[in-house]
Subunit: 198 residues, 4 copies
């Protein structure tokens, strides 16, 4: 089974022209072809951002978390988080915004945190044992943020659905079992960071 | 000169009935008279919350900070932050929301952070030298948060005005000189926490 | 059953003269008698510090956590964390050091974190439902730190024993069930903050 | 003038065999030649770690910070922080330890933090204006940690000297003017994170 960090083809020509897209350097010759990226993935750690979308109440308490339903490489349905690469010339915030929009749609209205410090740093290795997180394709280092969203989510691209669930539901064995590469632990770590670990 | 932590008479009968006030336990016999509070202030550290109100751009970058203009005990005009006590039976979040509303008005629409962890902890002592912060009246320990506000601020009570300024203006010598009790350093520390220290 | 935040009689004459004790203001008239403290506990939130003692490997990864075994008010054996009040005139760091020494002995050699920001803030209420943490005696707000210790722990006072366990053991149902007032969730939250939630 | 993120030739054969070196995957075919690295630097953000070495007192308060004196590309003497790339297959902690040893020598005995969360994330761009930090060579994203060191520092490689200074000295205009690429602001941000911004 191929466990992978979702990494949508963000270098396709369509993406930067999408409606409401942030001013990332489009048509950038620095961007990588699939082949080049595959080559580099075996040579360098790749920088990612991940987001746990949440709903909050009037005083900021997290009431629900959004988990993506997605088909993985071998056609299995799995649960995952908003995730993607930081591109050359792009700020971490712009990458975070771009991937939130890609996975939640243009009407999600995410409120990115004022602080640049992630709630945790997740290190994915192709070889198990080095950390709690694995990614068969690459060595990825991911800055993980909890992001309140205030609008309506309608997943685009390969995410089938966004499921909103309480923290209690999110840590249930059945949901945790559907999360690949250690993301069940990552989701619980993010809940702990916002004081909502059941 | 009396340097003091702003601590508005939150136990006055008017306050809990104010429009839009959060459901704090009103008419609570546990609340303290001025005399009792003065007595306790010499015996125990008092828990405070402080907030640095900010404006953020579309990806969460802080563009402006809100500083309060207020007359202190001896009639001098000083600059300060949103601040106040946590009361018996009140959560830190509810206290933060209540003081934001008290100092910025009911239309400020603050977005309290999802995380309960403050950007810093400021310890105020009546005696100098123990920490960077002083308060002639008491030993206070303050949980400090950076809070984006999205609405219109119109100060109530003894705050005369909310001044919005860029991070560069906020760290200017003239603004810093108007901040009492070490709050100039506190404001810079909060800016650093959001990656915006000039 | 009385669930309480451990709050050892830190105002007893013996304590400040203990070997290696930090220079806390001893014989301070500001300190409280038991009766006065009981009275104030129903009027104000009381500030606490809590510590999760840990062992770390050569690059800082937490390998073990120290959990205290203690008899509670009704003679039951329970598991808990290092914990205690911050006293008038005492810094948070000094309080943390004092309680670590009180609970782990003078040879524990704790390495207090350079940052004043706690890993989480735990709010204990006498009434359930307001937060994840309860304390029958009082409204307490606790700044929680993870503290590596490098020496030998020999509990003093009413702690019977320090048990070192792996993160996996610490989150096991049997250990979690022995922790009162929500401290099982608190311990897991602290493990998450250091990237070690199993 | 070439402003650059110090990036010592960590792929030289000598380095991994150095005394006391951590078990990084040596002789790794995944490592990059100078030419390959130069090529990739224009295509992907490169992941770095940076460390602000500090001395702390008995309760963890930072008393001094260590700043490196180093000759830059054009022979000017500049001040900088401990810094370097995270390599393929290497954890962030191992990279941090390796660069601390490289810049401070094998007897520095750094105490890496238990938390994987950096005090800030610094984004370096070749083009000014995108962030507070610039690096003429590349787009680098750096996880910044404050690391207490307990031993003796004797710089190796191209660092000429480690200078210990108080927080007050570190923020003085003359020291700040010697720091390239925005690292003066980075050092102040790190001081703020440990509650020691003057």
């Amino acid at each position: 089974m191929s466990v992978r960090t979702p990494d949508h083809p963000e270098w396709t020509p369509e993406e930067p022209q999408g409606p409401g897209s942030r001013p990332v350097p489009n048509a950038n010759p620095a961007w990588l072809s699939d082949l080049e990226l595959a080559e580099i993935r075996g040579r360098l750690p790749i920088l990612y951002v991940e987001a746990v979308p949440v709903r909050v109440d009037g005083v900021g308490v997290v009431t629900d978390v959004g988990v993506l339903l997605r088909a993985n490489q071998v056609g299995e349905i799995t649960r995952t988080l908003v995730s993607g690469r930081v591109m050359y010339g792009e700020t971490v915030r712009d990458a975070l915004f771009r991937h939130l929009e890609k996975d939640l749609g243009p009407m999600a209205f995410p409120l990115l945190p004022a602080s640049p410090v992630p709630v945790t740093v997740a290190e994915y290795f192709p070889m198990p044992g080095l950390s709690a997180y694995t990614d068969a394709r690459q060595h990825a280092v991911s800055l993980v943020f909890v992001v309140p969203v205030t609008g309506t989510c309608e997943p685009r691209q390969d995410a089938l659905e966004v499921t909103w669930m309480t923290p209690e539901e999110a840590v249930s064995p059945s949901v945790q079992a559907d999360m690949e590469g250690g993301r069940g632990a990552l989701l619980r770590t993010a809940l702990a960071a916002v004081g909502r670990l059941p």
